[in-house]
Symmetry: C2
Subunit: 205 residues, 2 copies
């Protein structure tokens, strides 16, 4: 049975995973909750509580076994459950995400990009082809695609979202600074960069 894990815990587990990758690179076999806590400046007890939510913690007498803990996070968060996605909008941000090879480690397989710029269509970015946005509806119909990653300029965000919805897309990862209007059966995740920035800077005088 799948345990309920809150967004905050998912976020922290992903950061623990980053740390574990570094430990593996440095051939470290064990890690303590205290080491993780101190790198992230959070409470030791918080780290232990999060790790206890995993099916297997890989705990040994000298600390957690790095490789086992890493694997356990991957299983719990479903890294091996591959989700297929494409990027809509091959501007700088779309290109940046297409070039970001780290995604595949987390089960996100970016298949291709779509754009309406004739100069971009047909080019390849990191082995992903840029396709004509006009072909998107037939493409969605032919391939099984979970997620559209929306990286168009703000003024085209709503019309692009409508186009995606009409093509049958049910999940939109929205990188535009626009709140999209979509039907109830379509899920939108707002990657709210400015909200994150303001959380960070709220306390800077």
């Amino acid at each position: 049975m799948k345990k309920e894990i809150s967004d905050k815990v998912i976020n922290r587990l992903t950061l623990y995973h980053c740390i574990l990758q570094d430990f593996i690179k440095n051939d470290e076999e064990y890690i303590s909750s205290g080491q993780i806590a101190s790198l992230l400046r959070i409470d030791d007890s918080q780290v232990r509580k999060d790790i206890n939510l995993l099916n297997k913690s890989g705990k040994s007498r000298v600390g957690y076994i790095v490789k086992e803990l890493k694997k356990s996070i991957e299983t719990t968060l479903g890294f091996s459950k591959t989700k297929r996605a494409y990027i809509v909008g091959a501007g700088n941000l779309g290109m940046a995400l297409a070039n970001y090879n780290n995604f595949s480690n987390y089960g996100l397989n970016i298949v291709s990009l779509f754009d309406n710029d004739p100069d971009k269509i047909g080019r390849e970015i990191n082995n992903k082809k840029i396709l004509d946005i006009k072909e998107l509806p037939i493409y969605v119909w032919q391939h099984y695609i979970d997620i559209a990653i929306l990286t168009v300029p703000a003024q085209f965000a709503q019309s692009s979202a409508q186009f995606l919805v009409n093509a049958g897309i049910k999940y939109i990862w929205n990188f535009t600074p626009t709140v999209l209007k979509v039907p109830d059966d379509v899920q939108v995740w707002n990657e709210n960069l400015m909200g994150n920035f303001l959380q960070f800077t709220y306390d800077i005088n």
Copy 2:
């Protein structure tokens, strides 16, 4: 006196602000909490509670006055308190952030970029110059800069962070998938894209 506002509320207020901008574009004078709630698929009462945290809500008999509510969010979240930042790493992601004009509306002024690639140094992106990373320490010393936005490839993340710390930087907005080791007086905000992605996709079968 500054009220304590939680990260979640800051995040939501930023989304309300996006909606208000759209309403202004469409010449709408009033907005109800229900309209905001339905666009974000959250509870009406949640929206009203958040808005009550603002110093002035701009409430009238026929709904909130769009322009006043927008202004009030800006004042509360300190959009007018400009923070100066530069981007370290002029790759696709750095370029995307440099091109993102929306930041300045929220008080984030990206002054310039830094890179070590001779082909990039001296070029301009969106009126921001790409400078030689070697000049960064003297630059930090001469200009008052609040924030470094770290967008280098993962393998250079820790060494770049160390370089920034040595140059006197106290705030790092970290877009690399690496947990940085920095002294206690340096604050790091991890822009944890994968954590966000996994929160979004955790429930997709």
